[in-house]
């Protein structure tokens, strides 16, 4: 048994996006798009505050959190000043544009066009009193956790 077996390539991923800050949403979107670029099948499941990324009225206004994140290297009290989050958000968006990372709405459209499926979490939708009309048109359906697992059959699940 000395021969090492070649690891199986990943063929399918299910990405859960559970946070609604800009820096909470992008990693999942970048991973989803990157997976499709590799020909990997993708399902994206938005839950809790992650729903903000697909709520039509909110998705263009996601912000970077400047409080409670030591890696921002801004003292908490400074981060809490009015306008800090907007300032940090503006800076981050500029940096991302340089790297060709699209704004959230365009990114969601792009990823959906690659053939990825997008779902909203039913429990959260009920909790926040939302319905299908609140979401952008790329959302394929509102599904339960059980259905999420069914759709994830054979996939690696990535929680962000």
């Amino acid at each position: 048994m000395s021969e090492k077996q070649q690891a199986e390539p990943i063929e399918k991923v299910s990405i859960v996006i559970s946070k609604g800050s800009l820096e909470g949403v992008y990693p999942g979107l970048i991973m989803a798009n990157g997976a499709r670029m590799e020909g990997i099948e993708v399902t994206v499941f938005f839950t809790f505050f992650g729903l903000d990324a697909i709520i039509d009225k909110r998705m263009d206004h996601l912000k970077v959190a400047t409080v409670g994140n030591p890696a921002m290297h801004i003292p908490t009290m400074v981060g809490g000043l009015p306008g800090m989050s907007a300032f940090a958000t503006g800076k981050m968006k500029k940096e991302m544009e340089v790297l060709d990372i699209p704004p959230v709405r365009e990114f969601i459209e792009m990823i959906h066009d690659t053939g990825a499926e997008m779902y909203a979490c039913k429990a959260t939708v009920d909790m926040f009193h939302l319905n299908k009309n609140d979401f952008c048109e790329q959302v394929d359906d509102i599904i339960s956790v059980g259905e999420f697992y069914e759709k994830s059959a054979g996939a690696q699940i990535i929680f962000t």
Binding site: I30, N33, R36, M37, G39, D100, M110
Partner: protein, 105 residues
Amino acid sequence: MSNVEILGKQLELDADGYLANYKDWNEDIAKELAREEGISELTERHWLVINFMRKEYEEKGDGPSIRRLTKQSGVPIKELYQLFPKGPAKKAARIAGIPKPKGCI
């Protein structure tokens, strides 16, 4: 690094299996590479993408991001994935004879 024989010509491949020298490339080689990727016929739309990839590489030293590719070539993302089902940016780059694009987007 490895070598592959395509149309009677020995061609060097890089570690990712892409052509090591993009100047080794010609349209017949592209057709062979496409066949390896399961694309039996290269249409005019395929060529549009392939030629854009080569131009981009010549000008910038790297293949385009998928966003640039769709915006600049005018080929919508949905169609890109139909043309190159197993991942357009990378498969098109391989067929175009340029290295695997380094970008994440």
